[in-house]
Every structure is written in structure tokens, then in C-alpha cells.
Symmetry: C3
Subunit: 190 residues, 3 copies
């Protein structure tokens, strides 16, 4: 029987990577195995294997149709994986032209996820985490803009559910309470 396909999303600074890594480790200790796939990296590997690009920067210069073809190819390959998979991606990406959906129809129809998880946090906490994270260069956004992004993610995730029948799970990742977020996610992934 096929495993669970769980898409995990969250705005920059929400702590998605920590939640994913600790949840996978926790479940591994219980002999529940999840493969962790970054959708973006997976797409890059597909593009590289097809000689479309040689480094990640070149990904941005691909045409819309090329990107769409890559998204589909990546989705189809991931869909074939047996066993449990976590797909680390974005519900939407904030671009200068507005919110870009991370899982448009042509991705969803191939992936057919069981669950889309939104890792969320208080807008203000996310703002402070971004300021204190000096390792990454991130655009400066206000708390209102972060709230808009998180709300857009909820709305677009609802449409993902309509198309695929997946559930949409909110996981709150509050300051000092990472273990709580991990337990909440692990409970569903067990």
C-alpha cells in the first residue's frame, strides 16, 4: 500500500525546517520512516538531469512553460515513490508580482497529497525571527504583510483541498514551543 504524502508549507521564518527535521527524527525513533523531499531541490535535480540548467540561479531564467514542465515531471516522479513522503515546499511564494501558488493544478493532479500542512506562527513572532536570523538575506516585510501572506496561504490551501480531497492541517509553531509543534505534527503523521 502506498504511504502518506504530506506537503508541508510555511512562510519564511516560521521555523518549518526545524519542525520537519525534528518530526522526522522523532518518528524515526518509533520506526516510522518519512522521506524528506524539498520540492525546489527535486525540481532542480530534474532540470540538471535534463541538461536544462547547471546551477540553481539558472532556474529563474527558464520560461514559464519550461518551469511548468519541470514541475509536472518532478510531481510525477515524487508520486511514484512508495512509502511515506514529506514534501517541503511553499503554499505560495511572495513575488514582486504578488502571491504565486506553490501547488498549481498541474502539480496537485499528479501529487494528490493526503495532507497539506500549514506551519504557522504569530505574525509578530515571525517578524522578530526574521530580524534575528542573520544567516539569511530576507526582504524586510512588516507584520501586516506577513499576516496577509499567511492568510493567502490558508485560502489557497483550501482550494488545494477542493481539488484533491486532501485535508488541511494548521500547526502552530509558537516561540519556545517547538516540541509542541513537533508533537502535533507527529500525531498526524504516525
Amino acid at each position: 500500500m502506498a504511504g502518506k504524502k504530506v506537503i508541508i508549507t510555511g512562510v519564511p521564518g516560521v521555523g518549518k525546517t526545524s519542525v520537519i527535521n525534528e518530526t522526522i527524527e522523532k518518528l524515526a525513533n518509533e520506526n516510522i520512516l518519512y522521506l524528506n523531499i524539498s520540492f525546489g531541490s527535486f525540481m532542480f535535480d530534474v532540470a540538471k538531469a535534463s541538461n536544462l540548467v547547471q546551477n540553481r540561479d539558472e532556474m529563474r531564467s527558464l520560461s514559464k512553460d519550461q518551469q511548468k514542465a519541470l514541475q509536472r515531471e518532478a510531481s510525477q516522479q515524487i508520486a511514484k515513490i512508495e512509502g511515506n513522503v514529506i514534501i517541503d515546499t511553499h503554499a505560495s511564494v511572495k513575488t514582486p508580482a504578488g502571491f504565486l501558488p506553490g501547488l498549481p493544478e498541474w502539480v496537485l493532479r499528479d501529487l494528490m497529497p493526503d495532507i497539506v500542512v500549514l506551519v504557522e506562527a504569530d505574525d509578530d513572532q515571525i517578524l522578530r525571527r526574521r530580524f534575528s536570523d542573520e544567516s539569511r538575506l530576507r526582504d524586510i516585510e512588516g507584520a501586516r504583510s506577513i499576516r496577509d501572506h499567511q492568510q493567502f496561504n490558508r485560502a489557497v490551501a483550501a482550494s488545494y483541498a477542493m481539488l484533491t480531497g486532501c485535508t488541511v492541517l494548521y500547526v502552530e509553531n509558537a516561540d519556545f514551543l517547538l516540541t509542541h509543534s513537533v508533537e502535533a505534527l507527529a500525531a498526524v503523521l504516525r
Copy 2:
């Protein structure tokens, strides 16, 4: 000519059943007839007729594909009904794995509703109604969780509208104002 197909939804405790029953009675007094179908019960009848299950508890143990097939069969049968129909169901169901859409694509394409109604109420009022309703065993949720559920329902209903072209109507069912909710709904169903 085919009648109106109206889907009526609302979170537990919002008073959906009262709104539906009183609206149907009110309209019946004006010789406007609506058939009242519970989508869940209808699915169960289809499952029973196919010898898939013998009681409602067994519905939960059906596979995802079986449930999907039942949803489609039920939708197709309901779509064939002539005259006005109210379909009593959920915009989404709150499950341990997150919000599950009540009307995924394969249901919508067959049902093609004219209107999706969200019966809504203040989160706090719903909370108090749930506490005082001793006849049903319901999970205890906070007001914030109820708000999230009602907001998810609005978002997912918007995607139902995109796919089918139906309208989305909010009907507020405030404490002591049931007659008002019924009149608001009846005005649209006349």
C-alpha cells in the same frame, strides 16, 4: 425546467438543522417545495443498497477510493432529482488530520449547485451552544478553533464557486434571531 440545487452547510452547533427545517416549512406554506437531503445519509443509503455496509459505523472503515466512488454515485443520483433540493452537508469536516473538504471536485462536477449557503454564527455563541447541548457528544474546541473552522469554510466555499459558478451566501444565525435567519434564507430560495 430543473429546480434549484442549494447546498446548506455550517459548523456543528451553528443551528443548521433548525434553519433548514423552518425554512422548508415556511416555504411549504407558500407552496414552494424543497426536498431535504442529508448528503451523509444519502451516501449511506447508496452504500447499503450496494451491500458495501450494513450500518453507519462501517462507513468509516471504507477505503478512500470506495468513499470517493460512493460520493460520486450519491452526487449523480441527487443531480438527477427534478424540482428544488436542499442538500444538507458540511463545507468542511474537522478531522484529526485537518479540515476535510465536504465538496471535493468530483462531487461538485456532478452536483453543480446553484448556491452554497454557509450558516454562520459568532464563534462564542457557537461555543456556548455546544456546551449547553447535552444531547450530542462533541469534541471540545475553543472559540479560536471555531473561528478557524468557519474561516476555512468561507475559503473553501470560494473555491467551490470558482469551479461551479455557484453563488456563496452567508446566513448569520445569531442567538434569539432564528426567524431572521430563516427569512434571509427563504428570500433567496423562493
Copy 3:
């Protein structure tokens, strides 16, 4: 190469027309040309050319299927236009039966926009603009109702993005700051 297809929406009173006209003028001064199409007027022209109607009032008496066919025909003709196009329409229309999506699936699949813009403003400012605009007869709505409409538009726009892969851009059109709104939109349309 095909130009940009930009759908611009906003609730009545938000100042959409001013934003569109000034943005087109600003860009024209930079030799960046956008054709400005009102989706409703375009549909009417299609209907008139097909001898379906003779004046705009008759548009409302068309059957649902006729309206759908007109929407599709209009979308297909607009999709064929080369060069940049602004399509002036509604994310949703508030009707007595609830919010009606302006861009249902059959429109989106033909139009395949690059960007859906939501021109937004504070609910209260919109309310005051409506009261002071004596040139148009508009239904009187409260600020809460305007907020619901703007929120529905965000939700339904998210589902448009899921289906087409377009981005969704919020442009705030605050009192006294039209030049700011125009600059924000022009920056994306350049």
C-alpha cells in the same frame, strides 16, 4: 511573444477605474502600451454581434447557459489578443443570492491570466466613498458587509491562482494616495 494578461478587480467604490486609467496613462508615457478591456462590455458586444441582445438590460434575462457561452466566447477572443491587456472585471459580484465568482473555471481556462490584481481599500473608506458618490446608484451596505466582500475576493482569487498559476497582487488604494496605488501597479505592469 504574447503580452501580459492582467485582470484587475475591486469592489464598487474602491476606485478601480481611476487606478486603471492613471496606470495606463503613466505607462503610455513610457511607451508601454496596455489595451483596456471591460469584460462586461466585451461580453455585451459579443452578445450584440450574435443578435442575442440589443441593449445591456437584456443581458440579465439571458439563461445561465447562454451567459456561460458568452463568457467563454469573450474569454477566447480576449485570449487571442496579442500585446498587453488589462481586463477590468470583478473577482466576485455581490448578488441577492450571494457572491457570484467573476472568473469561474470556464473563463479562467481560456483567459489564463498572468496576474489577478485586487484593488483594495479600508472598508470604512469605501463606505464613505460610496455615500459621497452621487453619480451612481449603489445598494447601501455596511462596513462589515464590505469587509466580507473584500475577504471573499481574496479567497476566490486564491482559487483562481491555484487553477491557472497566476499571481495574486493586492494593491491598496487609500484615500489621498492614488498616485501611490498607481505606482505600485505600474511597477508590476512595466
